[in-house]
């Protein structure tokens, strides 16, 4: 097991290195000169200002020196300074990350708590009207744009329950009740697609296991259907579901931006959006680097969890 984790970690190293190179190169891939673009709106600019900005962005050094400086500072937690607020990028991200992470965790929890039971129910009752209804709902859930659902929720709340004011975001530890009241509607809207994905996947996974020979054997030896389902079917069927849910954990973290925009939540997604609008390149690079790294690490955790749960599979 330890060996497996070490091997996977070693495999990650080149990927993370590649990620860092791509993120670093972002500012160099901009068509034209980044400094020109940044300075573009200023009518009176002096050569000294241009040089200063160039130095601030580190663009006055040879490429490999720039990369090495940038990477070694990033590894020590220094992601540079925002061009608009002059505050350290790492600080700004640290202030916004908890909200996006909480939204992600709540969304995952909702998707599992709702999607898995529905999927099991659908599989057990397959080819019944209830199953058909759930499958249609699943397709609709997959097709509904989450930001539209979010907008509809805000619209209906404002039209029919104007007294309910969602209120401002407060950190969970400050006021858990208030925090959950603010965060639950966005999490519900955000989870619509994932509930459908988890449900569909659980359904087909359970169906597949139900057709396996060991399940026939279990039934043949006279076990009660509930025991067959609980002990033989679900244990095997839910293992792949872990992978799917885990895969989307990282995915969601990068996708909170639209939901944050609709519910006006001060999370990392909106930070990224503002940074793009203001061409705050160090901030964009910092956010992309942090989220991509988290994404890779979450996927590693999921792989390890999968290997723990399923001893048959070891990728050597």
């Amino acid at each position: 097991m330890t060996r497996y984790v070490v091997v996977r970690l070693l495999q990650l190293a080149p990927i993370l290195l590649g990620v860092s190179v791509l993120v670093f190169l972002m500012i160099h891939l901009i068509p034209g000169d980044a400094v020109d673009i940044l300075m573009g709106t200023q009518v009176s600019r002096t050569e000294a200002q241009v040089q200063e900005l160039r130095r601030l962005l580190g663009l006055d050094q040879p490429l490999h020196v720039q990369y090495w400086d940038w990477l070694s500072r990033a590894l020590r937690g220094d992601l540079g300074v925002s061009l608009r607020t002059a505050r350290p990028v790492a600080e700004e991200i640290a202030a916004r990350l908890p909200l996006s992470a909480q939204l992600t965790v709540m969304t995952l929890a909702l998707a599992v708590l709702i999607g898995v039971p529905l999927g099991i129910f659908s599989a057990v009752r397959h080819n019944t009207p209830a199953d058909s209804l759930l499958r249609i709902l699943g397709l609709i859930g997959l097709s509904i744009p989450d930001f539209w659902l979010a907008t509809m929720m805000v619209l209906f709340a404002s039209l029919y329950w104007p007294v309910i004011h969602l209120g401002q975001y407060v950190p969970f530890w400050t006021d858990p009740g208030h925090n959950l009241r603010v965060m639950l509607p966005p999490a519900i809207a955000f989870s619509s697609g994932l509930i459908a994905i988890v449900m569909r996947f659980t359904r087909s996974s359970v169906l597949e296991v139900l057709g396996a020979e060991y399940v026939r054997t279990a039934r043949a030896k006279g076990l009660h259907e509930a025991v067959v389902l609980g002990k033989h079917v679900l244990r095997n069927a839910l293992v792949p579901v872990v992978t799917v849910v885990g895969f989307y954990a990282g995915y969601l973290l990068g996708g909170t931006v639209v939901i944050e925009e609709v519910f006006a939540l001060p999370g990392m997604g909106r930070l990224a959006l503002n940074a793009i609008a203001q061409r705050d390149y160090p901030m964009i690079q910092g956010i992309v680097l942090v989220v991509a790294t988290l994404f890779v690490l979450v996927n590693l955790a999921v792989d390890v969890l999968y290997a723990v749960l399923n001893p048959r599979i070891r990728y050597d």
Binding site: P14, I15, L16, G18, V19, L22, M26, L29, I30, P31, H126, N127, L139, I140, L142, S143, I144, P145, F147, W148, L149, T151, M152, V154, L155, S158, L159, S204, L207, E208, L210, G211, G250, Y251, L252, L253, G254, G255, V257, V258, E261, V262, A272, L273, A275, I276, R279, Y281, I284, I287, V288, V291, A292, F295, V296
Partner: protein
Amino acid sequence: MTNATSPSTASSKSSGAGREHRPAHDPTPQQERAGQGTRWVSLLRKNQMALVGALIVVAYCLMALLAPVLAPYDPVEMDFLAILQPPDRTHLLGTDEFGRDVLSRLLYGARSTVAVAFGAVLLAIAVGVPIGVAAGFVGQRTDTVLMRSMDVLMAFPALLLALAVIAILGQSTINIVIAIGVVYIPQFARVARAAVLSVKHLEFVEAGRAVGLSAGTLVLRHIVPNIWGAVIVQGSISLSLAVLYESALTFLGMGTQPPMPSWGLMLSDGRRFMQLAPWTVVSPGVAIMGLVLGFNLLGDGLRDILDPRLRGAVGNQSFSSK
């Protein structure tokens, strides 16, 4: 595509590769003689889900193409005497805050979405499939280098990668095509590679090699025709997500710029007045959902058709038949 009459084995996994030539049902001699196109049509007819999906998609494409004919008004023409009109006979879906006809804007908005979705997926196929084929066919170092670079691209969550590409290239419709296309390149590379690996060692390829066909001929005439099934399934799944990404990105103001209409932008603009005029935010969302649903139905149906292994689990037949 006529000479790839390979008997595919059941060993190919997960990608549905090499199954293109295995009929979904016992073929009549007539079907056996029928061309590839007829085969597709008859398969579509047998899978109603895919058929409904295909019809929805075709309807949207027609909407986009025929927008100038169908639209009752100019989509950007403002009419300050008809601001925020509820749906009625003159404006079937109402008007927005500039008095522009919502129906006309929806019809024209379909152009941006449909074009971006197809453009992005075609771009991803054009770049990703050759990478995957090269990786799978050549193998060894080439495979490692190509697929590890794809892993790096896949290390970015999709929407964030698209936003990063737009942050670099700037905000425009073309750049949205590139941004979404880049997101999908690794997925097509993976699907194509897996499909190539599953047919690479089959007898007909070995036979081609044995009679001295060049690598290029082997790939183009014997391998590529056998991986299209997998690529098409992946394509239809990607199209549904591409529509969602396009509308999310235009919603965030990253794509189509005003005053030209796009569904995401209409939804975003409508939010300011939605308590007064809910119709401005309801119809764009329904339009997006319909098209995504069409692609999803088509994708599900095509997967059932092209990957019979899953049919027991997903389709209507008994799962115990395997």
